[in-house]
Symmetry: C2
Subunit: 146 residues, 2 copies
């Protein structure tokens, strides 16, 4: 799947992603970069709304894991089980989000673990930046269920 | 502040809250109940989007703490520092959110701590239910800075 296809998937099927104008700018089997303007995602102080930052981050992570499964040819339902977000400084401009996935598990191992255990847990960190500075990060635990 | 005033505050100043149709149905100095329809808050499976559930919960908690400060006559900036959300079962219908605040701190103590330490940390749990069953909950740490 390329960036445009992932954008279509997110914006067509998740109303909040369309409203937030979440845009995938880079998508590889092990990394993703996304961006979103401040305006639809602001709070009453004109900085990033905590909920919007979380939503953009959890969707970014979901997209990366979904693509990882797609590349591996693995079928299963992908959900997030729990997640913790840390806010370090206010977001005052366009948001940039980025995540990398652990590449130590091969496609073969991924498919085998999904078939054997019925599920695969994939932890991920999604960084949230603005104006070149990290404003916070999300630690999310995604689970693929066969 | 009553429910209608809080609805105005949230929906006028936080675009995401307006889009999600977050509605405050009960607001007292120590409790809040809110609701939101599934449609703007769904994912591609037609169940509640993880990001929407978080956003509704963090805004619900924010509104409760904001009102607590308002009732106490305390002035300060209210932010969320970190939060963890747990997803236990899919949301398949209207979402109902509820939270209670620790009432052991009097208005006087709240104002004194804010003046003395320059900040007050207020942890909160926001429950997310649908069709009478708890689907998940948010543990959020809000901080009021003088």
């Amino acid at each position: 799947m390329n960036s445009d296809q992932m954008n279509d998937l997110l914006q067509t099927h998740i109303p909040l992603c369309a409203f937030m104008k979440l845009t995938v700018t880079l998508l590889t089997p092990d990394s993703i970069k996304t961006t979103a303007p401040l305006e639809p995602n602001c709070n009453m102080h004109g900085t990033g709304f905590a909920g919007a930052q979380y939503s953009l981050a959890v969707a970014t992570g979901w997209a990366l894991v979904h693509n990882r499964l797609d590349v591996a040819g693995a079928a299963g339902q992908l959900v997030v089980k729990e997640a913790t977000i840390h806010y370090d400084r206010p977001v005052t401009d366009v948001m940039e989000l980025a995540a990398n996935i652990d590449v130590s598990m091969t496609d073969h191992e991924l498919i085998n673990q999904l078939a054997g255990k019925g599920k695969v847990r994939i932890p991920l960190i999604v960084n949230i930046s603005s104006k070149g500075k990290r404003c916070g990060y999300l630690e999310a635990s995604y689970v693929v269920v066969a």
